[in-house]
């Protein structure tokens, strides 16, 4: 009898190991619960065991079908004690690992594009960036495609991002905090009553409370590969401006790999920011591995994204990697983020259809798919950024 029990405990812990090996996270505490549950169900009844273990060991719907398959595999094959990945899994894993060989040649750390932009920037002094622009959002300028954008419009871009940042900051939460009075503050009965004790129960001093400010964070992932050359320069300017008008923004650039450029962008002037970027090995104007880069982001910066975070991806969706990798990575981000916004400069052209395989894989995990080819489209972005 004891022997039989030991055996079943081993079977269950082995099953937990199998689940872990196949990607269903099972904590030790959950394994212990699973063993505890054994005494609570009829072990002779397969369905009892199945439902009990499923309710204990899974935590989300996505895991259910895999769980059911593994349950059948494990409990139907008494001889099987170790988690052996199936051939098809191995093949899929192998596919995931492989990188096209062209990556090496595309990934030139030298950055001709950056140097070019920096040169172009010399024509205009950096002060133009800081000066508040005249309020001349003429329709023609607002519609101008970024590809035909001149550096003189930087001030306009700066004005726009400050406006976006203000909107992001101005959201009020539904939670309260004590206030010292002023507009929007309401009476705080709880504190008023407490204060009244000092004066023998007469509420002479009225305590107030007001709504907390909601803190939205931004994470921007900017594609700087060759196909984005025309746009990424301006998107980078946009990100630079954003970095300087909004405190909680993290920026990453990627082509074939991911580089955090928050600190570089936080430099005093746009020129020094570009210089710093030029020295980093970003693989500017190289090939694109959107999926791989975003997967790298998910793996390396898991704590950056929460429900208060808007994740902005700036890319044209031309991916030379596997679309599944991109879909999987975006799904992971989408699950955690407050909002996922994909800005595609190509969307500004009326004839463009998001048909690339990468874009197709991405669309179902994106909340907002919008254009980013001119100032008007960036202005419209404000709507999507507020959580």
């Amino acid at each position: 009898m004891i022997e039989a029990r030991t055996d079943i405990i081993e079977r269950v812990t082995g099953f937990c190991r199998l689940l872990r090996a196949r990607g269903i996270r099972v904590t030790p505490a959950e394994s212990i619960d699973a063993v505890r549950a054994l005494s609570l169900v009829d072990l002779g009844d397969r369905l009892d065991l199945h439902f009990a273990l499923r309710t204990l060991l899974t935590t989300r719907r996505d895991e259910l079908s895999l769980f059911d398959a593994l349950f059948a595999e494990w409990w139907d094959a008494p001889g099987l004690k170790d988690a052996k990945p199936k051939a098809s899994d191995a093949a899929r894993a192998a596919r995931r690992e492989s990188r096209p060989s062209s990556a090496a040649q595309e990934n030139n750390a030298g950055s001709p594009a950056l140097t070019r932009w920096a040169k172009a920037g010399e024509a205009v002094d950096d002060e133009a960036f800081a000066v508040v622009a005249s309020p001349s959002t003429t329709a023609s300028r607002a519609r101008k495609d970024f590809a035909a954008f001149e550096n003189t419009d930087l001030a306009e871009l700066q004005r726009l991002t400050s406006m976006l940042a203000r909107r992001l900051n101005a959201r009020r939460s539904r939670r309260w905090k004590p206030a010292s009075g002023g507009s929007g503050a309401r009476a705080d009965l709880r504190r008023t009553l407490r204060l009244s004790l000092k004066t023998g129960g007469d509420p002479l001093e009225l305590a107030r409370r007001e709504r907390k400010l909601r803190r939205t964070k931004l994470v921007a992932l900017c594609d700087v590969s060759g196909s984005m050359d025309l746009y990424s320069r301006f998107l980078l300017q946009f990100l630079y401006a954003l970095q300087h008008s909004f405190a909680r923004v993290e920026t990453f650039a990627f082509s074939t790999r991911l580089v955090r450029i928050t600190e570089a962008l936080a430099r005093d002037t746009y020129r020094t920011a570009l210089d710093t970027l030029a020295q980093s090995e970003t693989g500017w104007s190289g090939g694109t591995k959107i999926g791989g880069s975003i997967a790298e982001f998910v793996a390396t910066w898991p704590r950056l994204v929460d429900r208060r975070t808007v994740v902005i991806i700036l890319s044209d969706g031309w991916d030379t990697g596997e679309p599944e990798v991109l879909g999987e990575a975006l799904r992971a981000i989408h699950r955690r983020a407050g909002r996922v916004v994909w800005l595609n400069p190509l969307l500004g052209s009326t004839s463009y259809q998001p048909l690339t395989r990468g874009m197709q894989a991405a669309l179902s995990h994106v909340d907002v798919f919008a254009a980013a080819h001119n100032l008007a489209s960036l202005e419209a972005l404000g709507r999507h950024l507020a959580l």
Partner: protein, 297 residues
């Protein structure tokens, strides 16, 4: 099937809740292991119903906390009864009590308004069922706070001290997955996913909840709804819609579906103008028969 699970299932079935084994097992384990049960599923599949039925099957109180964004401690846990406190201070005006004594007096249990979470852990007679409904609509701060209450079954009120549950509540959380819940909360809970029921099960549900429905009508209603669920809709009808519709049709004295009847009552099933147009178009194209006849559509 373990006898206790079977008994719980029968008890739930007696409350007119068609219970599958997965649900009964999950509910039984949650109660025995004293863990919260997190139920997810599409809208209208009867997630909330599990808690209600559990409470009446166990014959205990159901305490419901409806979550929404900005839900805070004063609505979820407790609030002081300010009016009563003020009145008390006035009445005590002449007394010689010191400010400290007065403070202790008005911040005692007597002046506390219990909100659902506090009520759930202060029941003296039996463990109630605590339903935390649509937990995905609350915000993250509240989720973290909830986690604290759920794991220790105790609450600390600064003025009074720690209140510990003598009868830990049976906790059921429901989520419509409008946002992802924290990993910590998920780990703390047992998990149950309720899917749309099979045809047979849904017919049983409709007939259990609408005893007057004709057998043919119940079958047609369920088949129609199940086939409509296969379409791309803004709001896919749940079991709640099947029940509403069946009840509406019974009230209209129908015993089978017809074109006019469907057209007039489609609002019970679909709650979105675009969806209604979509389904009307499909019926016009393929005929109502394609949606209610037995066999492959």
């Amino acid at each position: 099937m373990r006898e206790e699970i079977a008994r719980l299932r029968d008890a739930m079935e007696r409350e007119a809740y068609v219970t599958d084994r997965a649900t009964a097992t999950a509910a039984y384990l949650a109660m025995t292991l004293q863990k919260p049960l997190l139920i997810e599923g599409h809208p209208g599949v009867g997630k909330t119903e599990v808690a209600k039925v559990l409470a009446s099957a166990l014959d205990v109180e159901l305490i419901r906390l409806q979550c929404y964004e900005g839900l805070d401690v004063t609505t979820a846990l407790y609030e002081w009864n300010y009016a009563k406190q003020l009145l008390h201070i006035k009445l005590q005006e002449g007394s010689a009590a010191s400010a400290r004594e007065r403070e202790a007096e008005i911040f005692s249990r007597e002046f506390l308004l219990e909100r659902p979470l506090l009520r759930a852990i202060t029941r003296a007679d039996a463990s109630p069922v605590l339903l935390v409904d649509e937990v995905d609509r609350s915000d993250e701060e509240f989720e973290a706070f909830l986690l604290e209450v759920l794991s220790d079954h105790q609450v600390t009120i600064p003025e009074i001290g720690t209140v510990r549950a003598t009868h830990p509540p049976h906790v059921v959380l429901t989520s419509n997955r409008t946002r992802e819940l924290s990993e910590a909360l998920r780990r703390r809970c047992l998990y149950l996913w309720i899917d749309y029921p099979s045809f047979e099960k849904e017919v049983r549900i409709v007939r259990a909840k609408t005893p007057d429905v004709a057998e043919q009508l119940a079958g047609e209603v369920v088949r129609f709804i199940q086939r409509v669920r296969g379409r791309r809709l803004a709001k896919t009808p749940g079991v709640a819609e099947s029940l509403d519709w069946a009840q509406a049709l019974v009230a209209l004295g129908a015993d089978a579906l017809g074109d006019d009847l469907v057209d007039e009552t489609l609002g019970c099933v679909l709650k979105d103008e675009g969806d209604i147009r979509n389904v009307r178009g499909a019926i016009a194209e393929r005929g109502l028969g394609a949606y209610i006849a037995d066999g492959a559509p």
